[in-house]
């Protein structure tokens, strides 16, 4: 497909379980972002990749959160020992690299994974 694809769309897990969320960015997009959207709030930045390099992980809420993009395309967000406060929609976005004019490229978002922790 032409858009950003995320799977699964919905994930229910028991507290303490590990989960893995997948993101397939648009082909050719160098930049990949993960955001967390709690109910009734705007998305909040988690982490950023440029190709396979994780350049910013300042938004990850704890060391239970881990993200990777080993081949510079598909990315996985892993949450270990899930807690109820991890319940949220996790959004992935991709964009072209900033061009030589230093204009930030618009980000294209997937439909998100809704994670519910029981």
């Amino acid at each position: 497909g032409a858009g950003v694809s995320q799977s699964p769309r919905y994930k229910v897990a028991k507290r303490g379980q590990d989960v893995a969320l997948r993101c397939d960015p648009i082909s050719g997009h160098v930049s990949l972002f993960w955001y967390q959207q709690a109910l009734g709030q705007g998305p909040e930045f988690l982490t950023y990749f440029q190709n396979e390099a994780q350049l910013d992980k300042s938004g990850l809420p704890s060391d239970r959160f881990f993200a990777e993009r080993p081949e510079g395309s598909v990315s996985t967000l892993k949450i270990q020992r899930t807690q109820q406060e991890d319940s949220a929609v996790y959004l992935c976005a991709s964009s072209l690299r900033r061009d030589r004019g230093h204009q930030a490229q618009p980000q294209h978002f997937g439909d998100g994974t809704r994670l519910s922790i029981l």
Partner: protein, 113 residues
């Protein structure tokens, strides 16, 4: 601290009426500004963007936004709303070199017949 503020959590508008959504930002320079829309069960869609130049920008679906440096505002407008415009609207800015987005809290728009 950098921030994006959307003062209106919820707006109700009649179909065919005009719509204006407010957005203020706090940053020491001019950021890159965007408006995104999120419809129920769907992903975020970019409506329009402002980087520099003409302060009145046109977007998709008949939306426009005006950047006012003196007021640190970037308000979104539409002259005549359609029922399909019911959604959550986010004012967004980016200031860092990677393009990390900072979202406002969102404004929920309800369209009545």
């Amino acid at each position: 601290a950098q921030s994006v503020t959307q003062p209106d959590i919820h707006i109700t508008v009649s179909e065919g009426a005009s719509l204006e959504l407010r957005c203020n930002y706090s940053y020491g320079a001019t950021p890159y500004l965007f408006w995104y829309v999120q419809s129920p069960g769907q992903g975020l869609q970019l409506l329009l963007k402002y980087f520099s130049g003409d302060t009145l920008v046109q977007g998709i679906k008949g939306f426009e936004a005006e950047f006012k440096r003196s007021q640190s505002s970037f308000n979104l407008r539409k002259p005549s709303v359609h029922w399909s415009d019911a959604a959550e609207y986010f004012c967004v800015m980016t200031t860092d070199s990677w393009g990390k987005l900072q979202f406002g809290a969102g404004t929920q728009v309800v369209v009545t017949p």
